[in-house]
């Protein structure tokens, strides 16, 4: 009897011991019922408009971190070769630096990748405005630029215990991974991409001063109208500054224009219809979203097809290279003569010098926005 008890006892101890030897479960516990992620905030820069974070996607530290990882992780593409960062590089203010046309193994991208920053003040996304919210923009880019397959991406992420844990931390209950959560997380990271610390900003804050060349470029050319007869400013501000408030420094008009890039003989003669292809209205053909002018020094090549390599070429285009078409923006008052024509060599230098004051090296080097897998 004693022996039997001893044997039974030993077996119990062994079974218990084996139980302890089992490897750690890969199951990550569901978040507690009342789990809340850690709220995150974005600081409103000097003379920028209020920031409205979408109520259905509040920022959390965990959400932003997850979004940053997803942004840089090629796992999201169908063959795990392309991430958002393949075409949106921090050193180029998250534009592609001219490389988007060659990085995609699925073919060339149709248009120059726009830079990504100050997105919380934008109302439309993509050159043609086909997305109205950041999650929509993320979804579109994933599908069309990364050949994204939602089910496959979710499945790949579910097999990665790090991501399983990160999704639970970012979104709480229920702790599953969905396409919607991927889009929300990437959007959260992108909302934190704020660029507002260039020399231009410092001048506006009274912490730096323009050189004479930069001063003339901004106040006497960029911000001055051409007038109806021409002869003074370069009239850049109508599209590249914001006219909604006394001192809105976003430097974008949140609007669509045909800037006279290509000749078109009639409303349907545009090779790239832009906004018109989205709205279905022929009077919108050839219109594109005004691109960011902040960080323009590093976001080349310029225009939607990257046709200009330098800022000097861009300035010369507006001075003498405009083409006529039925929807050329009414603000391009001198398109009929190919541009304003009267910019002197000094004027052109001044405009370029001013534009270079919009480079925000703090943003370009901010470790919070860099590739988390390379740290």
């Amino acid at each position: 009897m004693k022996k039997l008890l001893f044997l039974l006892g030993s077996m119990l101890v062994i079974v218990f011991g084996l139980q302890q030897c089992k490897p750690d479960s890969t199951e990550i516990p569901e978040p507690e019922e009342n789990y809340k992620s850690t709220p995150d905030t974005i600081k409103r820069p000097f003379n920028f408009p209020p920031i409205n974070i979408p109520v259905d996607n509040p920022l959390s530290k965990e959400g932003v971190l997850l979004g940053r990882m997803l942004f840089y992780d090629p796992l999201l593409s169908i063959d795990s070769t392309i991430s958002c960062a393949s075409c949106h590089k921090q050193e180029n203010a998250f534009a592609d630096g001219g490389k988007a046309f060659s990085t995609s193994v699925f073919g060339l991208t149709k248009r120059n990748s726009p830079p990504l920053f100050n997105l919380v003040w934008m109302k439309d996304f993509f050159w043609d405005g086909r997305a109205k919210t950041l999650p929509q923009q993320v979804e579109d880019a994933l599908i069309h630029e990364q050949n994204f397959n939602a089910a496959m991406a979710v499945s790949k992420l579910e097999k990665d215990s790090t991501y399983v844990a990160l999704f639970k931390k970012a979104f709480g209950k229920p702790g599953n991974i969905t396409q919607q959560k991927i889009e929300k997380a990437v959007s959260q990271f992108m909302m934190t991409l704020i660029s507002a610390d260039s020399k231009f900003d410092k001048v506006m804050r009274g912490q730096a001063t323009f050189t004479q060349l930069e001063f003339d470029g901004f106040y006497n050319l960029f911000m001055k109208d051409t007038g109806n007869v021409g002869g003074f400013g370069a009239d850049c501000f109508h599209c590249h500054a914001n006219s909604s408030g006394a001192s809105n420094l976003t430097m974008m008009d949140n609007n669509f224009h045909n800037n006279g890039l290509d000749y078109a003989a009639n409303f349907n003669d545009f090779t790239d219809k832009g906004l018109g292809a989205i709205t279905g209205s022929f009077t919108d053909n050839g219109l594109f979203r005004t691109p960011h002018i902040r960080n323009i020094e590093v976001t080349g090549p310029y225009m939607r097809d990257g046709r200009f390599s330098t800022l000097e070429e861009v300035v010369e285009f507006y001075n003498s290279g405009l083409k006529l078409s039925p929807t050329v923006d009414p603000q391009m008052k001198f398109a009929h003569q190919g541009g304003i024509q009267y910019l002197s060599a000094y004027d052109k230098q001044a405009l370029v010098a001013f534009m270079k004051t919009l480079t925000d090296t703090t943003f370009l080097n901010n470790p919070k926005f860099s590739n988390p897998f390379e740290q």
């Binding site: 408009p49 209020p50 409205n52 109208d225 007038g227 109806n228 007869v229 914001n242 006219s243 909604s244 408030g245 006394a246 001192s247 809105n248 008009d253 949140n254 609007n255 078109a264 003989a265 009639n266 409303f267 709205t279 279905g280 209205s281 022929f282 009077t283 919108d284 006529l324 078409s325 039925p326 929807t327 050329v328 923006d329 009414p330 603000q331 391009m332 008052k333 398109a335 009929h336």
Partner: protein, 248 residues
């Protein structure tokens, strides 16, 4: 004790009666903007208009402010109903507004196009975007203050391809362009605790054809309300303010 209880009860009943009085004799008054070009509805989509006198044109932007909106009673007294309203014809959120107004019969509507000098001196950054005076794209420049009217489009000769067309850019602002409008078109009633909607009709063809100062799109295709083109802004403000009507 009984006396104070009685007094409290009377006070309570008095307050209740006051608050219920507040709700009486009032209704909801809604103003909906309807754009026209002559008899045609104004559309920014796939639509070319003709003035019947050699010009074709299209529009792609119409934004403007009205202020000091008043209703005219049948005894000619006026009721203030709204300080300021903003219209953006491309944005359904800003194509109408509604206010609480005393119920009763009215014979007309008065308002001013643009902002009065006090409103014009405000800074959009001090208001929420949801406020008519808050930040609105393309409607404010620090040196000229609010744009009262922003109309953009393009014109060409009839049958033209618009390749050689003329850009239309009417950015009208500054206190000197503030204009009053007085409209009547039969009496209407705002029902007690009910709702009355009217259509505020704006005919852009009248802006360019109304006598005695029609605006030739080719000769005066735009204004920024700067000193050198302010005369066009003034003429445009005059014409614009004469191009409204209302209908039920």
């Amino acid at each position: 004790m009984n006396k104070s209880f009685f007094l409290s009860l009377v006070s309570l009943l008095f307050l209740v009666s006051i608050s219920s009085c507040d709700k009486k004799n009032k209704g909801n008054f809604e103003v909906k903007l309807n754009g026209f070009v002559g008899a045609q509805p104004l559309s920014f989509s796939n639509t070319i208009y003709s003035d019947g006198a050699g010009k074709d044109f299209f529009f792609n932007r119409l934004k403007f402010y009205i202020s000091e909106v008043r209703l005219v009673r049948t005894d000619n007294t006026e009721v203030d109903v709204e300080d300021v309203a903003y219209f953006d014809y491309a944005d359904n959120n800003w194509k109408s507004f509604s206010v609480e107004a005393p119920s009763g019969e009215y014979k007309g509507i008065k308002f001013n196009v643009g902002l009065n000098p006090t409103q014009n001196a405000t800074n959009p950054d001090d208001f929420k975007a949801s406020d008519p005076l808050g930040p609105k794209d393309d409607m404010f420049w620090e040196w000229l203050k609010h744009r009262f009217i922003n109309l953009e489009g393009k014109a060409d000769v009839s049958g033209g391809s618009f390749v050689n067309g003329v850009g239309l850019v009417y950015h009208v602002g500054r206190d000197t362009c503030y204009r009053s409008v007085s409209l009547s078109n039969g009496n209407f009633i705002i029902p007690d605790e009910g709702k009355k909607s009217i259509n505020l009709n704006l005919d852009l063809l009248k802006v360019f054809k109304e006598q005695p100062a029609p605006i030739d799109m080719f000769l005066k295709p735009g204004t920024q309300s700067e000193d050198n083109d302010l005369s066009i802004a003034i003429q445009f403000a005059d014409q614009f303010s004469k191009s409204f009507s209302y209908s039920e």
